[in-house]
């Protein structure tokens, strides 16, 4: 934890807030979890299965995130990537800097701090009765995976479900076996494309927006959920607009540097919006004016 910051926050931040597990948890105090399992998912990404040390499960909605502490190093925002209905708490992390590197090096039995769940997740209720188009880029599949579990778990509540997934190279495809098993199902259409491939790759090559232009959608009956790097999401949103999808029918998950995750510190502010509290999932209608401002 960043000590100076911990001591300077107002006592209001330490006050009790109800969490969805039914327990009252102080939002700035991490609970302790231990690593049950660590799996290597891509050259620079690992998935951690965590178990809360107090035994009380941490319930969350698809698209929400936790603040994870690598003790002695720092705390970062990481989305849940597991099944919200069952199983352990799962996070998939790309090692980019000190905290994420430390987290991805944790082995079975080691401790990690967990604050959360935070934020507004994917619009599962609005998607009921509609076709759902999921567009993921790279590690962006991780925050969408809980939504996929929910869609498949309650399949009858939704119309056509499609996942369009773009990765850098074949070896960067995360959750590879699972993506293959989804491809084999009759109740979800899955298309994968990579930006670069050797001659032995039999699948699509080209950017993910190419999959969108080939894909038929019913704009009036579709809700889109998009997650990936910001540039990718911008172009995906434009490709969906070209397909006739309304800007308030597409939802994007935003990333910004986070500290408090409860709307107090202002670190994650994007114009008038706090990503941690009002998001990370927003409609494109709401994000569009902010995404075009380069300095934000």
């Amino acid at each position: 934890m960043r000590r100076a910051f911990s001591f300077s926050i107002s006592t209001a931040l330490m006050s009790e807030a109800a969490d969805p597990s039914g327990r009252a948890a102080p939002p700035m105090v991490p609970r302790i979890a231990h690593v049950r399992r660590r799996r290597h998912d891509a050259p620079d990404a690992w998935t951690l299965e965590l178990e809360m040390s107090d035994g009380a499960p941490l319930r969350y909605a698809p698209g929400q995130f936790n603040m994870l502490t690598a003790f002695g190093v720092g705390e970062v925002a990481i989305s849940m990537s597991g099944d919200p209905a069952s199983g352990p708490l799962v996070h998939t992390i790309r090692a980019v800097g000190p905290v994420s590197h430390a987290l991805t090096r944790l082995g079975a039995g080691q401790l990690v701090g967990v604050r959360g769940p935070f934020g507004v997740g994917w619009p599962m209720a609005q998607a009921a009765g509609k076709d759902v188009l999921l567009v993921a880029g790279g590690l962006g599949l991780a925050p969408l995976r809980p939504a996929i579990y929910r869609l498949l778990g309650e399949r009858a509540r939704f119309g056509k479900v499609t996942l369009l997934f773009g990765a850098r190279r074949p070896e960067d495809i995360i959750f590879r076996h699972e993506v293959e098993s989804w491809r084999g199902r009759f109740d979800i259409d899955v298309e994968v494309t990579v930006d670069h491939a050797g001659a032995d790759w039999r699948g699509h090559v080209g950017v993910v927006t190419g999959l969108i232009s080939r894909h038929e959608i019913d704009p009036a009956a579709t809700v889109a959920m998009v997650c990936g790097p910001e540039v990718m999401m911008r172009f995906v949103a434009m490709a969906l607009v070209d397909k006739g999808l309304a800007e308030d029918a597409m939802y994007l998950s935003m990333e910004r540097n986070m500290k408090c995750a409860i709307g107090h510190c202002g670190h994650c502010q994007l114009g008038p919006t706090f990503i941690c509290r009002d998001g990370p999932v927003f409609t494109f209608a709401r994000l569009k004016p902010l995404l075009s401002v380069k300095e934000l």
Binding site: D44, R94, A95, V96, G137, G138, L139, G166, A167, R168, D172, T193, D195, H196, A197, G198, A199, W201, R202, G203, H204, V205, G206, V207, T209, G210, S213, R214, G228, P229, V231, M232, F235
Partner: protein
């Protein structure tokens, strides 16, 4: 010929093309079939055809020393390839290889260029159909070049 004209008119690239243009273009077209895993053309060769993909999938590839063949785009039915037919020196700048058995319409490039030259209205119409595809591919290449999904973006 009539059959070929119908096939041509059903391909998205020629959708809604003026009937007289379609007949003109059809004079340069022939059906072709390639088994899976076959090269349709090689980098450096003369760009003597323009291809409209009807069935199967085609990979566009560039080979780099020590790194073998790299696929930069795969194409589906309804798409076109071999756009080098349009601009001098009329040479392929990549390889095209079938990923699976493919049916194409091959349009004789020399014939098509002559017809576009003789009838600028036809030439302009074909240009308007090609330009968005070229721009989209240029844009896609830029995004690929940005390497969007890496940790450094």
């Amino acid at each position: 010929m009539e059959n070929l004209e119908r096939i041509l008119s059903e391909h998205p690239f020629f959708a809604d093309l003026d009937k007289s243009f379609l007949s003109l273009a059809c004079g340069c077209a022939r059906n072709a079939h390639f088994e899976g895993g076959r090269f349709i053309f090689h980098e450096g060769g003369a760009a003597d055809n323009f291809y409209l993909l009807r069935q199967g999938r085609v990979a566009l590839q560039i080979s780099a020393p020590g790194r073998g063949a790299n696929t930069f785009l795969t194409l589906e039915p309804g798409e076109v390839f071999g756009v080098n037919w349009l601009v001098p020196p009329y040479r392929w700048s990549y390889d095209a290889r079938t990923l699976e058995s493919a049916r194409v319409i091959a349009m004789d490039a020399h014939c098509l260029r002559n017809k576009c030259e003789a009838d600028h209205d036809l030439g302009y119409d074909i240009m308007k159909r090609l330009m968005p595809i070229l721009i989209e591919r240029l844009h896609a290449t830029r995004l690929q070049f940005l390497d969007l999904y890496g940790a450094h973006v």
